[in-house]
Symmetry: C2
Subunit: 333 residues, 2 copies
């Protein structure tokens, strides 16, 4: 099955930039947990909540990097599947932690089942991912994935701390973004290189590229959250007293509002009727700056991987990655 642009949530059909075999492979990946391998009700819950739908951006990124590195896509399908499943498991636990009620336009897993079953189903999924990854025979991949799982829980913890202490800064927010979003995207980029047993320089450049991409993604996420409806709970961040990048920009510019929030006023009431457009603009600019840095890293990578080739040829190699970058910056949800 080929994904179409409506499914991926993008209005401009510029998918020609992606190699057709990437889209084809992505469409064919079965992200569901194998129902025969475990308790049917457990896997069925996962399959109809956190493993259903979503943009599939992470497995797409994994396949694209694999393609750029010249790997057979079928060989790295297990990697693409694993990272989407870890992402899904973290969503299950995040929905418990955040008291979410909606996810991807339907009741969230904790509502469809219960907090308890969401915890257990997430645990099961995380373990299943590691079991499946060990089948690649590559211990580094398993180690890097465990680092991601560790970062995801740490990021959620840091966020709870920040909410409880009403203590936010650009540095804290970047640390949270790095743990919760960039760690996952970094893995998508470095995993195909690790799988290929390529040199350490390629791995590290791709890790850094993914990190920048992830931060940019999260900044754009916050900008979208501040500017229009999304399929997640609307304004869930604000209701949870969670200061995202847009709220932080706004509060920095409005010391009296910042003071009211610090003194205990709900973020929702502090931001009521606020004009966030300037803050949204600023956050978009930050995202663009991160993407600029990501571009520079790709330049280094191209120079390292294909030293003899022309600039045009290097850019042709990288075109699918440029497309992903554009997708992240331009996406409307």
């Amino acid at each position: 099955m080929l994904l179409n642009s409506a499914q991926i949530g993008h209005s401009v059909p510029i998918w020609d930039a992606l190699p057709p075999q990437v889209l084809e492979t992505l469409g064919e990946i079965d992200f569901r947990v194998d129902i025969d391998s475990a308790r049917p009700a457990l896997t069925e819950l996962l399959n109809r909540t956190v493993l259903d739908g979503g943009k599939r951006l992470r497995p797409m990124l994994t396949l694209v990097v694999g393609h750029v590195l010249g790997l057979k896509l079928n060989d790295i399908v297990p990697l693409a599947r694993a990272i989407e499943q870890v992402h899904a498991a973290s969503l299950a636990h995040d929905d418990v932690v955040d008291n979410a009620t909606q996810r991807r336009g339907q009741d969230s897993i904790n509502v469809q089942a219960s907090n308890k079953r969401a915890v257990l189903a997430g645990d099961y999924l995380l373990a299943d991912v590691i079991v499946n990854l060990t089948r690649t025979g590559n211990l580094n991949l398993v180690k890097e994935m465990s680092d991601v799982i560790s970062a995801l829980s740490l990021g959620e913890w840091l966020q709870m701390d920040a909410i409880e202490k009403r203590s936010y800064s650009s540095e804290i927010l970047e640390q949270i973004f790095r743990c919760k979003t960039a760690s996952v995207m970094s893995w998508c980029c470095l995993a195909p290189a690790l799988f290929k047993h390529t040199n350490i320089k390629t791995v590290e450049l791709l890790r850094s590229f993914g990190d920048h991409l992830g931060i940019a993604f999260q900044l754009m996420d916050d900008a979208l959250d501040g500017s229009q409806a999304s399929q997640k709970d609307q304004n869930l961040d604000v209701e949870n007293n969670q200061v995202n990048a847009v709220a932080l920009e706004f509060l920095k510019d409005h010391p009296e509002k910042w003071k009211a929030y610090q003194e205990g006023q709900n973020l929702a009431s502090v931001l009521e009727n606020a004009d966030l457009s300037k803050a949204v603009q600023s956050v978009r600019a930050q995202a663009n700056a991160k993407m600029e840095s990501a571009h520079l890293i790709l330049d280094q990578l191209a120079y390292f991987l294909w030293p003899e080739e022309s600039l045009e040829s290097k850019m042709a190699h990288l075109a699918p990655l440029y497309f992903i970058m554009k997708l992240i910056i331009d996406r409307d949800h």
Copy 2:
């Protein structure tokens, strides 16, 4: 630090059966999560709740098996540490799932922090265990550990199902025991063999030995719960409408009580003033039968490992394992 019998909760000082280096190594293992490697508040919560205290039975079993196989104990300390930490992480999530209030004589992790923080701290600990295990360079160990984590969540899920549907049988209970307890003990026994890259027959005999040991352990646990106070929440099983092995034996013998429970009466009121002594006795007998089978497996193992040696010499090799078996059958909490 040498553990003494009071710490391990055993009144008879028969510790001479264990090699002194096992006790010494066990006493020296630092089970705490490294505080420098992560958010201090997260690790501190783990260190003062689920990683504090306990019988340390699982790492002891791991060290003893390593000793029997002739391994250097320091080499397998990471394995002993890993299994105690996975056990601890499962306790953190179980305490959330079971609404526990007490654990090892103090407030449980979900009470000391919150359900949310208990979920995140457990996630972090599970990921940390896998990261550390990858350092052994042994992919099989990682795979087997992920199978354990998977079984632990599945077991808790099966138990919730059984509680909700009031559907219990000896088979369902054994499946739950296998997932929740025996999987962990099996790992303790097979991991040193995997670490040593020994033959598959040794690994599988030890896996099976650990499975029998684990089922026997859980049966004894239920017998203790039914017969006297423990350091866990008293009668938490019963309050949660959770039919343990003793309750099941009793209900089997009292069809009218079984019917009342099936029809919706609380387990606590069904069992009020019940004389459980016969059921306790029956469950103890089941535990002893499992231990008999475990003994037979050890006989096979000895015959396989030391074919040329005398029976006396074989038994001398196995003495530390006999001690652990005795400890499990005789323990008073």
